[in-house]
Subunit: 400 residues, 3 copies
């Protein structure tokens, strides 16, 4: 037997991740380094199986429930792909077609959709202090439901983006970096610039920059967070980044200069986001139902935004990175100058040059999600990977 | 062999249900006592298989088509769960995205969606005289389609709520009662109160109270239907209840006093519904396209409604039930005082005390739907249950 | 072994279709006669398997992505049925729920939805010069994605209707004709009338008449295209029809008389469509965002349309066909006199008499789509059909 799973199994044998069984995935910094490493190992293993036409299906039936409280293409398809790969059928909870408007509690809805659900994936990133809280409410409800004998199984929550973190995105980003640099052991001392960039739309989520500094600081890299004054992210997450950096032997620095962040960087991630303080204010106005206030705030933010059109990932800036060849990252879709808008986050020629690696970056997300599910559901992941290889069920029959 | 299916098979061996093969499920009172009992036995058997991690998948492919003409969360997820459990993929007919507005006939649509459909589940409960009729039109069309060689199989209709009955709900309610009371043989002489209760929304379907009195009268129980004057249900269904009660050795009584209904009751089901006569009038106005008339009717009904805020399931009323501990039922979501509205169907403390049994009540619906499909599709259900246990395919691979 | 696949395998053995592997299906006239014949043979074979309760599932997992830029019932269900039959789960890209409005490029979206997609089915028929172009953009993008290592597989495109052709419809129509006439060898010299007919709605797609004359001219039939002056179809497609007819030994004629087209016809296909020139103008106005212009154009077209209410498939006209018994075709839904509208494409009594064959006509579409996928994905279709029969997996377990 060729043993294509061997190296992944050997890696997993060195890691302690048994607490993931039955668990959920909210924020990367709630997981240990070993647990993060286990997700990467399983994601690579599942990809290896599929690319060798071996089915990693572990469920014969069961639902993967999705709740998208914001539009989504790539995360929706990534979740659907991950569920399908493992044997679960996606059932979307479209809150417009449901009776949730009746004033039904989260506790009740969570149980009602979970009688045959193995996974619940939620995107809820619109209001500060809301999304992650909602996910916890759902998990508390199904945990109780399981304990009380209402549910036959506790579905696993996968955070598909909240107000704090975007773990499936940032872990896919990180796995892409690991592959591009030939292994996690090659990342020590590498410089990564997570930088704000201008976009004509003002309210992009904070979860990506927060997720990036909360995760990328764990691998001994020098992480620089750059943004104009007033575009701060959540202070709690900066604190996480500082702690991570100290522990991993890397560093975490902040600057208000994009040039400083890019200088000598090995990796750059220029992306627009909204100021944390403004998002908090918006949440407060929303809570009061003050929609005129929200409109007024938006005008102020757009004006503030327009002062920073110079925050763009230009060819000139890219030349200042390590060898002029830093790895350019983006969660997509990007605002590209003269393509999706006049002034945006990145010059078209830069974006075009990195198109293939950008698409590869995105390609890891379905496997990251599948790995999160796998580790929450499978008692002995190493034995399961071995069993899947030995079963050798074809993903596509008679494929040559 | 341990034979976990044995007791269900033995039960089925005592029942005559062969006419269900190839049939449909419209109204519970169109089924014999044996057929109703067979649904319960198969629902319990399928649940037993799944809870023992044995897959009850009987289809390798095929569609379960859903048509929801009213919002739904629980029934939508129950139908999806049931189909998925048996191996069918749900395909929803969203009438907004279809060409049905072109003036296409029901007969045509029904055939067009059924080339690979094994099941069609329909919710159509908005207008008196319409929903059940529509379901029959669909079944007539696919029956003809099968006869004429258009269809390879006749899909089975499952009524997911019509204007007359809500069979998947009421059978789930009943199976819950059977489990709570330790067997159908313990129900003789038990008192169940199906009572109207106040809700700030005026137009809730009649199908639940009608379904309850049409089904619960079959088991020798004393069934009391309570509502304020003017909130009568369909007289034909009351007639069904009376006949059932006479046959089963139970009773069917009506009262305009909630207190009388609750006094000494073993089971209470307090729930809002709209007056039948008003719903008939609404249907008539709708038929004429008289939307101003509908609005005016709504105002009258809301005013009428507001006179009955005292029809609430309070702690005080619950104390008057058998030992103060009647089983409280609701199809959910309930209108809970000071939770979903100021004045509603039930006091929050009552609802909270019964939360776990209420969620369990709901958990039977996917299995009831799956059992209805199973009995319509499987030639020899006992042999199939045996075969499924013997096949022993894991619902989740290597689950411990 | 009974060998129910034998005759299909023998047929395929006589055909050269190896270039279909890995390919796409845009327009029927881009395929050779052998390739068209292979689609028919595989469609019949898959139907034979399913009707004998043998599963033709060749995928263990994988997605079939659908993009519907226009409403659809039958094509949506046909695509879902075909994917499900082969083992793929449908994931719809609802552009309203996606981030595509962000100005994302087709190239990017196409890759983002394809990480685990084996098939992409697209309906985009609204604007001349747009739909087919969009499909090519998608295919170009995923072809590049595959070449660049972004995608593990290149999904196959199935054209579910574009501005030029409606290949899954017309091939289903043709397979129906072949079955009705007892084999493709019986079609030489048969007369088929593709005729315009009046409908109160003015903007029906040209893809059906174009698809019909582009395909039906390949089988030695006498194809007549009839329409009022001003209702011309795309000249390029007429050219295709002329070339086909010359090559197949049939003929292609145009007339402005419905009576002439029907006289002695073996098959009639009366259906409304919009004038090509008007559709081009509409596309131009749309490009400029001139919605007032579009409204004005619509008024002109409706007035023009109303002059041709006499173009109706009446009993009288049907009497003039071969033996008064021509096979009546329609892609459905039809505009039926006094049923879906006052004046329409066909008299109710004609439509009713042909209802069963019309529904059968539609029943071929899921199999045509499945065959297109099968031939693009399966390296050795004959070996696969044999393997599927030998595997003998039941579509429904223990079906009698």
């Amino acid at each position: 037997m060729s043993g294509i799973m061997e190296k992944y199994i050997e890696k997993l044998d060195t890691l302690d991740f048994e607490k993931m069984l039955g668990g959920d995935f909210f924020l990367t910094w709630e997981k240990t380094d070993d647990e993060i490493a286990a997700v990467f190992a399983v994601a690579d293993a599942l990809r290896c199986l599929r690319e060798n036409n071996i089915s990693p299906k572990i469920f014969d039936s069961g639902l993967g429930v999705s709740i998208f409280r914001d539009n989504s293409t790539r995360t929706r398809f990534s979740f659907a792909s991950a569920c399908n790969l493992l044997g679960l059928e996606v059932q979307d909870l479209d809150e417009k077609k449901s009776q949730i408007a009746h004033g039904e509690t989260v506790r009740e809805t969570a149980n009602m959709i979970s009688f045959m659900a193995d996974v619940i994936g939620i995107r809820d990133d619109m209001y500060i202090g809301k999304g992650n809280k909602y996910m916890h409410d759902v998990v508390d409800a199904v945990t109780e439901g399981r304990r009380d004998g209402v549910l036959d199984q506790k579905p696993t929550l996968v955070n598909l983006q909240c107000d704090i973190d975007h773990p499936t995105q940032c872990m896919a980003d990180m796995l892409h970096i690991i592959h591009e640099f030939g292994g996690v052991e090659n990342l020590k001392g590498k410089k990564i610039a997570m930088s704000w960039a201008y976009s004509p739309s003002y309210g992009k989520p904070l979860s990506v920059p927060q997720g990036v500094i909360g995760l990328m600081t764990r691998f001994g890299m020098d992480v620089v967070l750059a943004h104009p004054e007033g575009y701060e992210v959540m202070p709690e997450v900066e604190e996480v980044a500082r702690r991570n950096a100290a522990k991993s032997g890397g560093s975490f620095l902040k600057t208000n200069s994009m040039a400083e962040a890019f200088a000598g960087a090995d990796i750059v991630y220029p992306k627009s986001w909204a100021p944390y303080a403004a998002m908090e204010k918006r949440t407060e106005l929303y809570g009061k139902g003050d929609f005129a206030g929200i409109d007024a705030l938006e005008q102020v933010l757009l004006a503030q935004n327009a002062e920073h059109k110079d925050w763009c990932c230009t060819e000139e800036l890219m030349k200042t990175t390590r060898g002029g060849e830093a790895l350019y990252l983006h969660c997509l879709p990007a605002d590209i100058n003269d393509v999706s808008c006049k002034d945006g986050e990145v010059e078209a020629s830069v974006f075009d040059r990195y198109r293939v690696p950008l698409y590869k970056q995105a390609s890891f997300k379905p496997y990251i999600i599948a790995a999160m599910i796998f580790l929450a559901k499978v008692k002995d992941p190493q034995a399961m990977l071995k069993a899947l290889e030995e079963r050798g069920a074809a993903r596509q029959m008679l494929k040559l």
